[in-house]
């Protein structure tokens, strides 16, 4: 589904070099220490930054020359996913039309997705009137109305309490399965990866040092740093 072919990138002194091929429908947990390059990987995919060399392909086509908003993906950040002065309906509506001129069908679509993530009563509210979990639900709803085959999650649930986090992951898993969406999710929590993901990849010093199916993510992994990471997280 998404393929990084020797993608090189440099930010100040740090160098990044990514090479990975992710299959359609996978839910991939992106693990690694802070500053290892997890967010850089997602930012490259989303097109907020451009690689120095190499190629990024989504669904078999190179996206390097494609504007961020034309790439077939939706994205969720850790915070500030919502525009603070726009209400929930408008924030979700932006996923359908960046000028906020919605047709009746599109409005129905917004209402429908809101029911699926359980926020149909919140439509007229402003983000400041929502709890942390509600905010991320709204943002997630926007990702799903965008109807893109790839979803990038940059630690959107890490600030939530464990119960909420599990709830959100369940929603992601359910909707991703229903819409056949491939998911790349950055997380600090091994438990999240084990709960929700089908695959994992481990980023270390700007490189992907280990990747595979989720049942290989355990304390017996041949990669020593990953082993250490798993042991510390369990």
């Amino acid at each position: 589904m998404i393929k990084f072919c020797s993608v090189k990138y440099q930010y100040q002194q740090e160098q990044f070099n990514f090479d990975i091929d992710i299959g359609t429908g996978n839910i991939v947990a992106v693990l690694g220490a802070s500053g290892a390059g997890k967010s850089t990987l997602l930012n490259l995919a989303a097109g907020f930054i451009n690689p120095l060399s190499g190629d990024i392909q989504i669904a078999g086509k190179s996206v390097l020359d494609v504007q961020p908003h034309r790439r077939p993906l939706a994205m969720l950040f850790q915070e500030n996913n919502l525009f603070a002065h726009l209400n929930v309906a408008d924030n979700i509506g932006l996923g359908l039309d960046p000028g906020l001129k919605l047709t009746r069908d599109q409005k129905a679509k917004v209402a429908d997705i809101c029911r699926q993530v359980g926020i149909e009563k919140l439509l007229p509210r402003l983000p400041q009137q929502l709890s942390g979990g509600q905010k991320q639900r709204v943002a997630l709803a926007r990702c799903f109305v965008q109807n893109k085959p790839l979803l990038l999650l940059d630690e959107p649930f890490s600030a939530l309490d464990p119960v909420l986090r599990e709830e959100m992951l369940t929603i992601v898993k359910k909707l991703a399965g229903k819409h056949k969406v491939t998911v790349l999710m950055v997380t600090h929590h091994i438990s999240d990866a084990l709960n929700a993901a089908s695959h994992y990849l481990f980023v270390e010093q700007g490189k992907i040092s280990s990747a595979g199916e989720i049942n290989n993510l355990n304390a017996e992994n041949p990669n020593p740093s990953l082993r250490h990471f798993v042991q510390a997280g369990l």
Binding site: P68, H69, E79, H85, L86, P98, Q146
Partner: protein, 531 residues
Amino acid sequence: MTSKLQSLPGLIIAGFILLFVSGAFSALLLHSPGFDLAVLWSDPYYRHVTAFSFYQSFLSTLLSVGLAIPVAHALSRRSFFGKELLLKLFAATLVLPVLVGVFGLLAIYGNSGLISQLLGFFDYKLPFSIYGLNGILLAHVFFNLPFAARLLLQPLQSLPVENHKLSVHLGISHWNKFKLVEWPCLRQQLPHVCGLVFMLCFTSFATVMALGGGPKSTTIELAIYQAIKFDFDLQSGALLALWQMILCGTLAVIIQRFSRPVPLTSTTTSSEPVPFCDSKSARCWDLLWISAAAALVIPPLLMVIINGLNAQFLAVVTDIFFWSAVKNSLLVAVSAAFIALIGGVLILITSRSWRLIGLQFRADKIELLGAIILVTPGLVISTGIFLLLRNITDLFSLALLIVIAVNALMALPYVIKTLAQPMLHIAQQYDKLCSSLGMSGFSRFYLIEWRAIRVPIVHAFSISFVLSMGDLSAIALFGSQDSTTLPLYLFQLLGSYQMDSAAVVSLFLLMLSVALFALIEKIMVKNNVVK
């Protein structure tokens, strides 16, 4: 620490301020028997003056803030070589001695300025005159557009970077992004910015005095001065001063009511560049606005430097009169800045101790009292003091003392605004620790406040210094042969069209204020880092 002890210093200062202002106020009342506002309305000249004051302030605000919006917007998303310097210059226009700015503008847009010379080369005549409304608007835009742009830049910069990423990701176009994301965030700040700029233009004195002046373009502020200084009509002067006070008070209340200034975080210029979908037209658009703003601000300042080094230089700097003006200016600026700083700190010690025990309302009130000068412009206070002391003593022997007092009062709001947050924070952090260690009084101030927040303290001092250095409104009434300051001297030179000498004095004034400002900050901040 007992809050009673900490309440005392602020209350004493507040008492002094009240005494000073009410002294001036009662003198004004005594000199305008009956305080008959109908007189003002029935007199077509005063009616015109009032209307003109509002008209020019309205236009100035509209132009300054209106044009500042695209400038701030362009600055918020572009980074380029020299941006930091440009922003520093933007900050300088507000503290720049007004007459220096006016001189720079005259050197470019004036009747014998650069543009007129260029046009003359092609046998064209300057199609406009800088004197009158044109010049007043030009100068007000010159002073206030950069200020407004900086104020508007802050909310734009405080937008979270995710909002920009999202806009790119969702494909929100430039216009839609401005409408949906940036405008709502600017809009919260706009009433406050407009209010500030309007007040600054409404009470602007030196600009109008230098560029307006004719009966057609006179403001209330200038009419007060003319009534007292030229017509010796103390009664009208007092009446107009009261009128100005009422108008400013009403304006201040309205502004206070309609604008909740969004608390501005210290400008955190994030190292991460803001992502946005760029295009050729967007680049041209931003380039247009940034270069237009630079073309407004930089040339006049350059002209002050270039013109200042002319044939008259030696003649001016060997003139004993010039040096006495320099001496007086330094005396006024240093004393006023010290008094403002001490007064401001004492008020804040009191207000923060009240805040810590939950007396927010009372703390707001005493800080507001420190900013009373915003309601009673410097010239109005000077007029009152002038009338008060006229019969008691020889005014001109006290001239500098009064100017120092009025200038200190004028600088006080800036000191309070600069130091209120840092002083409060440090108390919140260390108050309990200090009292458990038994630290109090001056030694506590030296060891805690001075060591920890020296940078804003020095900044408050230098702002007060520069403001007092360039102020004309307090000295205008009292200035005499013996007590001339540099701005007054410059004004006299401009008035008698001695442009070459005026250029030299402008340069000196610019150097003394801006360069000294930079120097003080540099030395103090550097020392701070070393320690």
